[in-house]
Symmetry: C2
Subunit: 87 residues, 2 copies
């Protein structure tokens, strides 16, 4: 599955509702998922990690959708040999 | 580009170093990028949003890599009609 296809899947399911909610309130939900990921990492629970990594990625996609950001385009810079700003 | 291909690209570039750093310290860098995304969203700066969404996605991939999580597999559940736990 391409990054674009997954972002479109999330758009079809959730974008209308998330646009109505708006970015600040959607960001709160996103951060709640980040917290759940932190819990899974701290407990080193592999099944829970898979669950929470998936949820964080989905919420990142919906936040990107309502901000008109194409994630696949946004990561093109990582194809270069020396992407600055990453560590 | 598939989700798996991007995760592999990030693995080739960063996984060795990030495994040495470990999950807790890598999570700190991830959260720093989340903060930068929040700044871009609050300022409603489109170019900066693209930059920061890309960086958060890349850091999510490297965290997943060092925790042996396949993001493409982790989001399979979103193909179902009623994924529970998402809102």
């Amino acid at each position: 599955m391409t990054i674009k296809e997954f972002q479109q899947l999330i758009s079809q399911k959730y974008e209308k509702r998330d646009r109505q909610r708006g970015t600040p309130a959607t960001f709160l939900w996103f951060i709640e998922e980040i917290g759940e990921l932190a819990t899974a990492l701290a407990r080193d629970d592999q099944n829970n990690k898979i669950e929470e990594f998936g949820d964080v990625f989905a919420w990142l996609c919906t936040l990107a959708n309502i901000n008109d950001v194409d994630l696949e385009q946004a990561v093109q810079k990582y194809h270069g040999p020396n992407h600055l700003g990453y560590k």
